[in-house]
């Protein structure tokens, strides 16, 4: 499942699942460009990927101009990205009755509207290449719902709907669009939970453990491969059996 010669763009690659995705795609031979919101984050990505030809850049996915500038510089330096992994995301959790309008807008903008922008920015290159892979990182809560996350769940469910529509639009150009919906994965985001939250979580995971970032990255790497050419519009759950909708 070699990705030799392909340029891949992974948003939010400085830590967690995104970092692991960038690493696995690079190991499979892709030239991986990872984005971060800070210079320090971008440098960290460069340190991790430079031995395999990849590098980090600063990009704000909530700003169309920043995305266009980033894609332009990647294309000039390395060639047009034909693999896009939309991984960058944020949470602003609160019960709806306490949620501020800004918390709603920020999450929809960063987690959903950003994917519209990045996908649009890379589409010309993919259409010309007659080959492309877009992989959107969703979440188990898109299907399950989760109290305190109306904004996040709405954005992620939106991502899955967008995945299906864009898959149909671009299928006859050799471009596939899929989502991966992780459950509870061992990252900074879940490390913040206390013991009681952790125990409650474990009780709903049939596998009886958290997932590893590598286990999400492996599915992304498959979807990015030539072998996955006939899989499109799909959302693949990676959640240890906690939800199968």
């Amino acid at each position: 499942m070699s990705l030799e010669g392909k340029v891949a763009l992974v948003t939010g690659a400085s830590r967690g699942i995104g970092r692991e995705i960038a690493k696995v795609l690079a190991e499979r031979g892709a030239l991986v460009v990872g984005t971060a919101t800070s210079e320090a984050g971008a440098e960290g990505i460069t340190d991790a990927l430079s031995s395999m030809g990849g590098y980090g850049i600063v990009m704000n996915v909530s700003d169309a101009a920043s995305i266009d500038a980033g894609i332009k510089s990647i294309t000039e330096k390395s060639g047009a990205p034909v693999i896009l992994v939309n991984n960058a995301g944020i949470t602003r959790d609160n019960l709806l009755m306490r949620m501020k309008e800004d918390d709603w807008d920020d999450v929809i903008n960063t987690n959903l509207s950003s994917i519209f922008r990045t996908s649009k920015a890379v589409m010309r290159g993919m259409a010309k290449a007659r080959w492309g892979r877009i992989i959107n990182i969703s979440s188990v809560v898109a299907g399950m719902g989760n109290p305190g996350q109306v904004n996040y769940c709405a954005a992620k469910a939106g991502v899955e709907g967008m995945t299906r529509s864009l898959a149909k639009e671009m299928a006859n150009r050799g471009i596939t669009v899929n989502s991966v919906a992780p459950g509870f994965i061992d990252t900074d985001m879940t490390k913040k939970l206390d013991d009681s939250q952790r125990d409650a979580m474990m009780s709903v995971i049939p596998a009886g453990r958290l997932g590893e970032p590598e286990e999400v990255a492996a599915v992304v790497a498959f979807l990015a491969s030539q072998e996955a050419a006939y899989v499109t519009g799909e959302t693949i759950n990676v959640n240890g059996g906690m939800f199968m909708g």
Partner: protein, 77 residues
Amino acid sequence: MSTVEERVKKIVCEQLGVKESEVQNTSSFVEDLGADSLDTVELVMALEEEFETEIPDEEAEKLASVQDAIDYIVAHT
């Protein structure tokens, strides 16, 4: 140096996979040459690159025939 007409027709042939003999100035991309909506978007992209110009979306939507494209290019480059 080829004329605008020749260059436009060449791109139409490449993008839509039709023979030169099928492409008349009056040919409609959709009705005569079998283009779907995505084909027409890509055709505009290819014209933009060939003639190093940007065709705004609202103008691109009006380009229905080979002659429309030729006229637009002649007027804007």
